[in-house]
């Protein structure tokens, strides 16, 4: 016991073990074993072969760019919908309570259902097509099309509520007086929005962008069901490799995908800490 009393850091370490140990064990161990696996041949010798495959084979290179594409486009689409939606939710209108409850519904719907819904509704010969047929319209190809429009629509449908939720609370955190002060100092509604609301809500907006980006980059069900067979993102390729028992290749792909997510997160942290630093230092106009 006296050893413990003398060494405060040891004492602390022991106290932290349950929490930190849990994290290390359940997150660190799988990640580490995947990392190790991605550098091994079947017999356990070291190799860079799996990574080489990813960055030389046409299908995996395409997979990487498709992952980035499917990560980015739904986020951009959701953003253009979520910001106006958040502004709408800030105002009071008839039925606002009902609406602010309803718009969150897609949060509860699993990706695979969303994918199936998109197929039922947008596929040629689907719901909309049959609705439009009598008046002489045919739906453009939205499901399994080359541009992955269906994937982007389905992804956005799923992300808009989450993004709106975060951005709404970012806007709500801005005190009303600050906006009123801007108006009384001669800023129109638009300028108040651009120079006051947006910069103050920026941390929330960036967080929403990054989280949805990471989510949609690694989503599997939607691109697998709704996406074109010509361009498969890494997440879908991983499952294909997995089914063929090439675990090391799956590990390597997973590492690349994780690395990407980590880079994006690090970029976010450095960006926000720099904003924080700038504003602490202040700058003169």
């Amino acid at each position: 016991m006296s050893v413990l009393h003398r060494h405060r850091s040891l004492q602390l370490l022991l106290l932290l073990t349950p929490g930190v140990g849990y994290l290390l064990f359940f997150f660190g161990t799988p990640l580490l074993s995947a990392l190790v696996g991605s550098f091994q041949l079947e017999d356990g010798t070291f190799t860079l072969n799996w990574y080489q495959c990813i960055f030389t084979r046409a299908s995996t290179l395409r997979g990487l760019s498709t992952s980035i594409y499917y990560g980015t486009m739904p986020v951009l689409l959701s953003l253009t919908l979520s910001v106006p939606l958040s502004l709408l939710l800030r105002r009071s209108f008839l039925g606002r309570k009902l609406f602010s409850g309803l718009y969150k519904l897609p949060l509860a719907v699993p990706g695979i259902i969303v994918g199936l819904m998109v197929i039922v509704v947008f596929e040629r010969g689907g719901f909309f097509d049959r609705l439009l047929a009598p008046i002489g319209f045919t739906l453009p190809k939205l499901v399994r099309d080359d541009w992955g429009i269906g994937v982007i629509l389905a992804g956005a449908w799923k992300q808009v509520p989450f993004m709106t939720l975060i951005i709404t609370s970012a806007f709500a955190a801005i005190p009303e007086d600050i906006r009123h002060a801007a108006r009384s100092l001669g800023a129109s509604r638009l300028k108040t929005f651009l120079f006051v609301d947006i910069p103050l809500a920026m941390p929330g907006i960036t967080a929403a962008i990054l989280l949805t980006f990471i989510g949609s980059m690694s989503s599997f069900a939607i691109p697998d069901i709704v996406g074109p067979p010509t361009a498969r993102p890494l997440s879908v390729l991983m499952v294909q490799e997995f089914k063929q028992g090439r675990f090391e290749q799956v590990y390597a792909m997973g590492m690349v995908l994780s690395l990407f997510a980590i880079i994006v997160l690090l970029a976010y942290y450095s960006l926000t800490s720099r904003i924080g630093h700038d504003s602490r230092k202040g700058e003169q106009s």
């Binding site: 007086d177 600050i178 009384s184 001669g186 129109s188």
Partner: protein, 347 residues
């Protein structure tokens, strides 16, 4: 001739609740007018309507001869100092000060000149590069003031700007504000629930209660000869008593005969300020001291006369009388008679 600011029959209701009954008020150019009233009486609502953030349900506002209430806030030539300061947290002090000028497209060198000037008069030297969160409450409020003053507006609005500060800072900023107004002379409308603040700063005070203007006057008028019971009670301490009046003579409840400052007949109400009652220890006196509070500069007593109790104050230089002492008292000068008006007609 029209006043600088004219508010005519302004009303505001939220659904069924009336927040402002018809309110009319004119403010002369360069005047410093305070709206004084208890919390919830509609002061902020009035300012928000003036600013254009909230829409009136009826009435008109004119500023410098032009109809104001139809313009959006950014076109109103009004600047406001908020209770919460409302500084832009993501901008340095310099940028906060320059924001409005930029929005109004003031050229850069003119901007610099005007900022330098307010930095001078609001004593903000050395703070320009700081962010708002690096400033103390008093400094933040001075920046908020400077940000409004730099606009050189036709009208300055203040919504309880000092109420978040501690007593000492409040006093010193109050003096700074008065000095600043004397220097720049901008027409100002200042809202507060603090009667001492209103008395110390204002050319005129507008007393408000429950969405109505009760009474308007200079601090001296309102303190010495208020028309309404509410004013008498809200500005300073007072004793409200009923008298049986006939001409300028009146009889107090305990039989004492007094002189009134105006003639009246029948039952009437008077306001007797504590400092206008002089007491001395007297074994044959009609009153008994029931409590004593020594506040430094003043001594504050309550005394009982039968079932009535009266507040009395005295300069604090003398030794306090102890509780239970029998006293007699004199009233200095004629006693002030209040109007017999129901609230609704007081305005």
């Amino acid at each position: 001739m029209m006043s600088e600011l004219e508010i005519r029959n302004l009303t505001k209701h939220y659904g069924e609740t009336r927040v402002l009954h018809p309110v009319s008020l004119s403010v002369e150019r360069g005047e410093f007018v305070t709206i004084l009233g208890p919390s919830g009486c509609g002061k902020s609502t009035l300012l928000r309507i003036l600013m254009g953030i909230s829409e009136a349900s009826g009435g008109e506002i004119h500023l410098a001869g032009k109809r104001l209430d139809l313009a959006p806030p950014e076109a109103r030539d009004i600047a406001m100092v908020f209770q919460s300061y409302a500084l832009f947290p993501h901008m340095s002090v310099a940028k906060n000060l320059g924001f409005g000028l930029k929005m109004k497209n003031v050229p850069k060198d003119e901007r610099a000149k005007r900022i330098a000037h307010v930095v001078d008069i609001c004593n903000l030297h050395g703070l320009l590069d700081r962010m708002p969160r690096q400033l103390s409450g008093g400094q933040q409020q001075r920046v908020a003031l400077a940000r409004a003053v730099v606009m050189q507006p036709s009208l300055l609005l203040f919504d309880e700007p000092l109420s978040n500060l501690d007593a000492k800072l409040r006093d010193s900023l109050r003096h700074d504000l008065v000095a600043l107004h004397r220097r720049i002379g901008t027409t100002s409308l200042y809202v507060t629930h603090d009667q001492a603040e209103a008395m110390a700063m204002s050319d005129r005070i507008v007393v408000m209660n429950a969405g109505r203007i009760v009474e308007i006057g200079t601090p001296l008028e309102l303190y010495r000869s208020p028309r309404h019971v509410f004013t008498a009670q809200f500005l300073g301490q007072t004793n409200l008593l009923t008298v049986e009046a006939s001409g300028t003579g009146g009889r107090l409840p305990w039989g004492q005969v007094i002189t009134l400052d105006r003639p009246a007949t029948g039952t009437a109400q008077v306001s007797l300020r504590p400092e206008n009652i002089a007491i001395i220890a007297d074994e044959n006196g009609v009153a008994t001291v029931s409590s004593v509070a020594f506040l430094g500069a003043t001594l504050f007593y309550t005394m009982e006369i039968g079932t009535l109790s009266l507040k009395v104050s005295q300069a604090g230089g003398v030794d306090p009388l102890s509780v239970g002492t029998r006293v007699s008292f004199d009233l200095a000068g004629p006693v002030h008679l209040l109007d017999h008006l129901p609230m609704a007609e007081a305005a």
